[in-house]
Symmetry: D2
Subunit: 342 residues, 4 copies
């Protein structure tokens, strides 16, 4: 089986990471690569780490260019995916790496994104309860946000097992690639090196409703989320510290048992041995998720910490994992749990 794949938005960080992974996917043949303002340029000038594709020239993002592929990945700015997807036909697998089709609640979408809601597609987080069945055979996939990936995987078992009160508190640190490749002064190397700072504090970050959606579904009741993202001086990686009040009767043992059961068969989730903690460096470039749990009896809380690569499992790796499921390929085809460290 050969899967011919096009990538719209190939000059950005998400597109570049996707190409890095597609290059080693044994079933994928890389087709059209498109861009907006960078159309006409050699990919080698924009993604110099992708040597096998260096001489490819970026084409404009049009339906004509994207036609004739089995899979089309959309790594476009928010709000642009629907128009492109409509023109691609129902038989093409369209994988949207943007936010457009993640949320089920139109009002949430409009509140956080300020535009009309385009719809809801099957959600590309296979590890969630029912996640795989929603993706199998689907022709549309909404790839989760990077923070919701890290946070949902950390907390859904606790909520599904009724271990935690429905008020989650999350503080996460992200590498700068999560903010994209557009040149903005606060993302300059001079500004971010040696610096930690928060943004989108107090519920303002657009990934908040997506976390609420996932955790509430797992809990079977509405879960509130206090989410504080911070920008860390590293190119990649998310470390999410997630906690909630423990329900009565929770112990370190019962907590760990729930997580061991939840992830026993997951190919990409690495519940670490007791005493070892997640580190973003360990999942650098890999599709693995490192998770560890703790029960703070004095504070009455459970703490779950997860580490992912925001571009890999958090975006492009997650997209590919879901594509594999949708196409009926083994889920881990072309994906790895081997990080590049140190």
């Amino acid at each position: 089986m050969v899967v011919r794949a096009a990538v719209a938005g190939a000059s950005g960080y998400a597109g570049g990471e996707l190409l890095r992974l597609l290059l080693v996917h044994p079933q994928v043949e890389i087709g059209a690569l498109t861009a907006n303002s960078n159309a006409g340029q050699r990919l080698g000038a924009l993604q110099p780490h992708l040597r096998p594709l260096a001489d490819r020239v970026l084409q404009p993002t049009t339906a004509e260019v994207l036609a004739g592929h089995d899979v089309v990945f959309l790594a476009l700015p928010h709000g642009q995916s629907a128009a492109v997807a409509e023109q691609l036909g129902d038989e093409v697998l369209v994988v949207d790496m943007g936010a457009d089709f993640r949320l089920k609640d139109a009002a949430d979408w409009e509140k956080f994104y300020g535009s009309p809601h385009a719809g809801t597609w099957p959600y590309g987080l296979p590890e969630l309860p029912g996640g795989r069945s929603a993706l199998a055979g689907s022709k549309r996939i909404a790839v989760p946000g990077c923070y919701p990936t890290a946070v949902s995987l950390a907390l859904f078992p606790a909520y599904a097992a009724r271990l935690a009160e429905p008020e989650a508190v999350i503080v996460a640190a992200s590498g700068t690639s999560g903010a994209g490749k557009a040149a903005k002064p606060h993302l300059l190397g001079s500004e971010v090196m040696g610096n930690m700072s928060p943004y989108g504090v107090g519920g303002a970050h657009r990934h908040t409703p997506e976390m609420i959606q996932n955790l509430s579904a797992a809990a079977g009741e509405p879960v509130t989320v206090s989410f504080t993202p911070t920008l860390a001086p590293m190119p990649r990686g998310i470390l999410a510290t997630c906690s909630a009040k423990a329900r009565p009767g929770v112990s370190a043992e019962s907590l760990r048992a729930v997580y061991e059961k939840a992830f026993a068969d997951e190919p990409f989730v690495d519940l670490l041995p007791e005493g070892q903690w997640p580190a973003t460096a360990s999942v650098h470039g890999s599709n693995a998720v490192q998770i560890q749990v703790a029960h703070d009896a004095a504070a009455g809380r459970i703490i779950v910490i997860s580490a992912i690569d925001n571009l890999a499992k958090g975006t492009a790796g997650g997209a590919l994992q879901s594509m594999n499921i949708a196409l009926g390929l083994p889920e881990d085809t072309g994906l790895s749990t081997i990080g590049v460290a140190p």
Copy 2:
């Protein structure tokens, strides 16, 4: 007035930062500099950034060497300060930059540090309620831990004003100098660059009881603290994200009003204008504390974020500020709110 100061532990990061600040303190004359294993070496070989002191030779840490000074700063490993302090006499101002005399509860000390409690000295965080009067004229000062400094300043106004429920959730990122200068594999540059990881999760960090002590005092009731420290890829700085459930009736306006009042006359606390968030780079090398507050109505929580330089306001700057008060000098003598950025 000339204050003759000795520094025990001058070869470490805390000692080095203290010397950096003492060098520009107009009243201080730097006396004996001592070390343990580094005794006998030129300071220039160990602290090459302190050029005016490059030719000083480190002496052994003994009562004889430390005698004859007005102030003795102790930057020693935990558990060593009491024995030294006893030999220095009651007329000498002893400023302990270690943990030995911070905690009031002997059981807490023994649980977290595993040795007999040495006692409790006036606590060197002047901004806390009653903080300055406890220090004025004192001959003994316990310098707070770096995390408790960042966290207590962030949250005490909310607790003192009864805005927050007594269950604080804190996630903080620290630069690597907070872990000291002892060579350990996990602190190698190869390990920490490009990496975020937690440690001491679930209430295990030794600074937890100190935070509980401070916040409970402010609240007038016991406050629990869920504290997760993380190691960030930067040499200096702490960013503390602190939150608690808002008590009924709290609004963004009432929250901000409380903080404006609390810090109106504080020379080193910088409650940022609305819309601007703390950044560790902005306080790099400075004694300033940047603070911003948010009320997340949807999650029902108040979030307070603070940024300090862990070595400056978090250790050596805080020590100097308290020394100024104890000696009756203007509190900001020799201290600055100007950071070194970018």
Copy 3:
């Protein structure tokens, strides 16, 4: 004596560093602060590390705004200084932190900068032979480039003492602040962290003719310079590795003797003890220059390595040092050799 100083270009990195230093200069009173596109903004929003000036509002860069000061610092894009300087009058000390008045050779200027040559002002590198006398009492100062500062100080003694053949080979690493605050994709944190790359290779960098000018003057004959700048993953600092073939008879001892003599009385040049090497971290935020020399007998070359802070001694500190000389103040007024490390 109170010196009233204006800063044109106060929102950039050079302007910000100058303000950081002016704030602690005992004779300076900070007057007008101007900007181009940032005029009208609070300085606190742009330079959040300069808390004492946070509420200052930037004014437009006009002769009216800059009038009435004793000193005007120009931190403007290349080619804009001459027009401003002309309007300020001959009695005002104008310190140009741009390149406009550094080069003596008009053809060099036009070749490297592509515009008509504006003239040549006294050159603000006091450590060069004759450097101080050219500055004393001057009303115009051309502040050297950051790389020429590091390189000229490293090599002029060897050339002045006829130790080196007139063909210098220089490779220097600079922190990213040297590239300024304008948002460009290749300067994003995601691009520069974990990355070293060269630029302006093969003689293309604009600082090359300035190095040639300085070294040729020291040597008394034309010196060629092969200069390769590289961008390093750090916000500040220049490490310059400078070498040239040793002339016959040069030994490690004669080389060191020349350097010891050259810098014996220099307040800011730190010829390190044998066995210790320069490190940019040691001069972070300081006006010091660390230098070390080596004689490679097998390769027949002398190697001189210097470290400076590109924003401090390399720009703003050097500007202030020259201002002190021009105004007859002690040369080190308001300047420090104490770095902020780690």
Copy 4:
């Protein structure tokens, strides 16, 4: 064909990188993993990024443990390889990633390493003239040093084509993993972040004679090398700036033509298009070598700049490439020119 491979020294950076690559080599089956002081530990505790091997337990480095493999990789401290290799028998392919068998000149070895010379093995840099034929079928391989890999590939074409005078000047920046995993104070994250510093200046670095050996062989005459290594604030990567005086008649065109011819068929050497410069981030985790050349007519020099990943092409990737040749496998089996960026 299944190649059973053992790795001695699996807990260090070189061993870890080798395992990362072996895990995706389609012909290799990973056998014994050994260590010295870390024997008995789970690999997951020491190399947490290698999840598929997490439960492997390190064995002691003995001939018994290493017996029964087709290939044995030695990632041991200098001076330990000969004793192990002798016990492994002549039929086993032994790949020494240490320095022991790189140098041909016993006096050079003794001068730089201070111990008796163990011998000389076929040199694992296939791109050098005659490199592949020396490796084909060999049962012993000496993997080059990381700096000599970057430097020799950059300069051998110029020397082989008689374009350059036999006096090379090299300044290289290396990530910290090149210094290994042993905990030393100057390699702490607090020390290396935000810092550039040189070491081994003046011909003292042990890789110097290896560069001289390679470049002299290419030139057919003795070449002197002035080599200055610097430590850069990044975990991986080497950027080598290499230059030499151009011989009469050299032009930019002739220089480029020589390099295009030299690398036309090289699978891992990426002579970049004109105008594009090497960047270590582009080869992060990859076996590619980026090279660019320049002719500085004014200075009369050719400049060649190369970028490699010190752990990949500079150590483990180079080892694997040579193993492939020795075993008669396609040279690029299991190796990639795709970097992990940003």
